[in-house]
């Protein structure tokens, strides 16, 4: 498996999120303060485009190299606790750093190198979750 197409796709994504200012702490503040449509327009248009693409792929019955139908594995709902509590923890982190994981990496390359520390801290966070996973409600 060659990794180059994934690298190139990631590059396009990186260019778009910088040029559209999705990576901007200020744009994230505008979003959480409901003062601008920009971020909602981006997320909404992205969801709509992705949804229409998934529908088309399903309609056409496209398969991967291994014969499995293209698509996402269903996410187990369980008690829902992991989505609400984990989601809220991430949301709080999103407001504090002004960035979700993609933008964190993008910002290191886009003039905010201190975000490297935020990424290291995020790795510690993910590791801590892995360590405590069996004790948490899911």
């Amino acid at each position: 498996m060659t990794l180059l197409p994934y690298f190139l796709l990631g590059s396009v994504f990186g260019i778009v999120i910088v040029e559209a200012e999705v990576v901007s702490w200020f744009r994230v503040q505008e979003m959480f303060r409901f003062d601008a449509f920009h971020m909602y327009g981006i997320i909404g248009a992205a969801v709509l485009t992705a949804a229409m693409s998934i529908l088309t792929i399903k309609r056409l019955g496209l398969q991967g190299a291994d014969g499995a139908p293209l698509g996402f594995p269903p996410k187990m709902l369980g008690s829902g606790a992991r989505y609400v509590v984990g989601g809220a923890m991430f949301g709080l982190g999103w407001a504090l750093t002004g960035a979700c994981p993609g933008p964190l990496v993008a910002l290191v390359g886009a003039g905010v190198p201190v975000m490297l520390v935020a990424i290291l801290s995020a790795l510690v966070g993910t590791w801590t979750y892995g360590r405590l996973r069996h004790t948490l409600p899911h």
Partner: protein
Amino acid sequence: MSNLFPHPLPWYVAGPLIGLMVPALLLLGNKPFGISSNLRHLCAAVAPGRIEFFGHDWKRLGGWNLAFLVGIFAGAALAWYVAPPTVVTLSSHTATALRQLGLQDLTGLAPREVFAWSSLFTLKGFSSVVVGGFLVGFGTAYAGGCTSGHAISGLADLQPASLLAVCGFFAGGLTGTFAVLPLFLR
């Protein structure tokens, strides 16, 4: 060169381009668009520590995603070099609110008073970078996804779990914006 693109790139251009990542990854190799999984793969690569959550074959399962992640860095660096969005045309309402919180400089991609090496061990720098980063890592692992995995891929795939997660994202984000940021920015 900075007027190569209109800043910001309009939502109706950026949104569909981001959305197209989903079918592109499916067509390339039936891969789910979701960036936070990389944190798990990196933990598995660096410090698995016999923890079950990090015991997977990260090279086989996450190699493509780590290549995507390196691409994000490269693309962002290129964009920043060629056409940096240096002045954000911010909504006046948000600008006023942020000035009231004590921020002077509203240019760049993040407030310089907070996101600088020299601020790392001040209350606002540490809270934003170190505590915020930790919450991003813990929260996305616990919720099983971030903006790309839940808000874009999951919602587009009509997964109820992702809708719940996005509600959680906003509950946390609003709390952070209106209750927590004022505690340490002011």
